[in-house]
Symmetry: none
């Protein structure tokens, strides 16, 4: 089957253009009242408004209509990988999210600490949402008292947040299609890991995981806070097609948080190190590596954080801080500048949402579409319409003159 | 697998309606300055503006976001054939483009004259882009001094432009999945034609082509301008589903240039002969055959030509010349009139581009959508949104009452 990536890979050609993808996490918002303005509409952002006036706007659907994405799938979509087709194990995302240096042959799982009764039946699947400090203590206890060294495998037990941790197995021949242990309801015992691939590696990996689970549950048995655990999303790095190979662009990621560095690395981008965590630090890093790459992914986290905190003013101010660095980005001379979010995080909802994300394209060959400002409602009138986020990179490739003509 | 064509074929029914698809090649444009107007927006076109006011507008994506189409794929898309799915060999398109009367069993290839060093390594893949006059001379030389008559095959060597020519083989049992001879880089020898289909016809056809290549290279060996050649896109007419069969419409093509007649013929339309090459000649032909067909494809070439020439005023004037014949088309009483382009050719870029193409539908059952004129920005506000060009014929079928109800 010919995939969309195949079509673009066939046409992609190198040139001297530079594409900047500026992502404000959770950018999209909602008015708090029927006649109110969204966070983005409220912000004083003369530079973003200028880009919208000179370019084309539209709204991106991250996954599918009505679907609220997690950060991993939302970013895959921005990088042109349909997250429905390219499903990444939760374990891999969890490991990437905490900055664990995952290797291609590592097997990762998301772990949940839980509580069980005397018969081993799950009473609380989240162990009363223990604190992250408790999670760190429990992980250390497991790290020190479990081992698969006799079988030739390394084990890493890494805390994430509250009851969540990541388990990573490292060694030869891990694989298979592995089932989860969480029964998903209380009053039932954890399930064993089973392999559904029917391969020798799958069977061996399932046995190895069940052996570790036995050890781990014995170690936790008399812990006052969490006397059992479950594993979900057991998988390896899926080995995605590499972004630099599809689009023939050297790609750099300029992100502060491990999760976003991790997803960028998963598709083959180089992750740029830099000091500081504010937008102007990121633009300084952009300037430093400008000559070395063709495509630059800049990830701004705090717009999402303030959305989840329900802090309208702080989200507005963070958008304004991004607006303030736009002239420095333009001074570098990008051929195409895209400003978007990975998903919406309306302060009103205090969570990620499914609302389409306002998106703008700016560059010399981008149609000035009559839209006068950057915002949710303004972008409804834009030239790019309502589109799937996987189309962002393809449009940018066109605007950058990086696609050969299709057919004679 | 049920295709979209299957769905429409199942529902298509005959009636007395008439559908006119008026295509201005390369219609879409760009403003030359941020605050400027496009070619279409500049044109004085009261009739087209009236159609937009009374009908529905939108913008068509010819292939995929960001992808600039060639004329062949762009027209396939207008005729409802997704060009990613229905890929036509370059040889077939090249032959159609020069008006060669290709038969279903002919095998066509695109040829490139090239130069090689004493060891047969390619030095220039385009022979220094020789003039078309040189190309004609070289083709004549090959036509006169090569032959596959002993094997029972006719050979046609037809000049195209500069270093490009078309090779057509005619005879029984040609086929296979044939590889190209162009090594794509200099310093390497041409590759032999190989068959990847594994069929007896494929193997025989590859052998036949390699035999001809040997002869041809010997004929060219001491030529001062091009001492070798390569073949690309070796294939037969792919045998597309026929437009008249899918939609149960007798379809006529009224085009001046061979390429567009060729693509229309490829999908089973009848090509109408007529004198003259201006829009009013085409409308006279339309009037003459009005009673004999249900669907009429009218192709206006010069909008694209002037776009590629970078002649803003001439493109504007050609749009105005088309506007002037609209009343004559309306006088015939079409049920549905569609005005669109196959792709954009902005004067600003002097080439085909990926920008969506302004499109309007007019007819008694088309929603008057509040759009007041025909243009790139006006059509952004239109009822049809941003859509794939393959949807044009289906919408027209609906507006013409030519589709039965789907389900009870």
């Amino acid at each position: 089957m010919i995939t969309e990536h195949d079509v673009y890979q066939e046409l992609a050609q190198k040139n001297d253009s530079k594409i900047v993808l500026l992502v404000m996490d959770g950018l999209g918002g909602l008015p708090l009242h029927v006649n109110g303005l969204t966070e983005l509409e409220t912000a004083h952002k003369p530079n973003l408004d200028r880009l919208a006036r000179e370019g084309s706007s539209g709204r991106a659907i991250p996954v599918r209509p009505g679907i609220t994405p997690g950060s991993g799938p939302a970013h895959l979509s921005l990088f042109s990988y349909d997250p429905v087709r390219f499903q990444i194990g939760r374990g891999v995302l969890e490991a990437l999210g905490i900055g664990f240096p995952l290797r291609p042959d590592d097997l990762a799982a998301r772990g949940n600490f839980a509580t069980a009764d005397a018969n081993g039946l799950i009473m609380d699947r989240r162990a009363g949402r223990i604190s992250t400090e408790e999670c760190i203590r429990l992980c250390r206890k497991l790290q020190e008292n479990t081992s698969l060294a006799d079988d030739g495998y390394q084990v890493f037990v890494e805390p994430v947040k509250e009851h969540r941790f990541a388990l990573i197995l490292r060694g030869p021949g891990l694989g298979g299609k592995l089932t989860e242990t969480d029964p998903l309801v209380t009053g039932k015992p954890p399930l064993p890991v089973r392999d559904e691939s029917g391969t020798p590696e799958g069977a061996a990996t399932a046995a190895l995981l069940n052996k570790w689970l036995d050890q781990a549950r014995r170690v936790l048995a008399d812990d006052p806070r969490a006397n059992t655990l479950n594993l979900r999303g057991l998988a390896k790095d899926p080995g995605l097609p590499r972004f630099p190979d599809i689009y023939k662009m050297r790609a750099a990621a300029i992100a502060v948080y491990p999760m976003y560095k991790g997803v960028a690395r998963l598709v083959g981008m180089d992750v740029i190190d830099f000091d500081g965590d504010r937008p102007h630090h990121q633009v300084a890093a952009l300037k430093r590596v400008w000559a070395d790459y063709d495509f630059f992914f800049i990830h701004i986290k705090k717009t999402d954080t303030y959305g989840e905190d329900g802090n309208f003013d702080a989200k507005v101010h963070e958008i304004e801080a991004v607006d303030a660095v736009i002239p420095d980005i333009l001074a570098l001379g990008p051929t195409v500048l895209i400003v978007t979010g990975d998903h919406s995080t309306p302060v009103k909802l205090r969570s990620h949402s499914y609302h389409p994300v306002p998106t703008l394209f700016w560059g010399p060959d981008v149609m000035p579409d009559g839209v006068q400002s950057f915002g949710e409602r303004a972008s409804e009138r834009g030239a790019l319409g309502l589109f799937h986020a996987t189309q962002i990179v393809p449009w940018a490739m066109g605007y950058a003159g990086r696609l050969e003509r299709f057919g004679a």
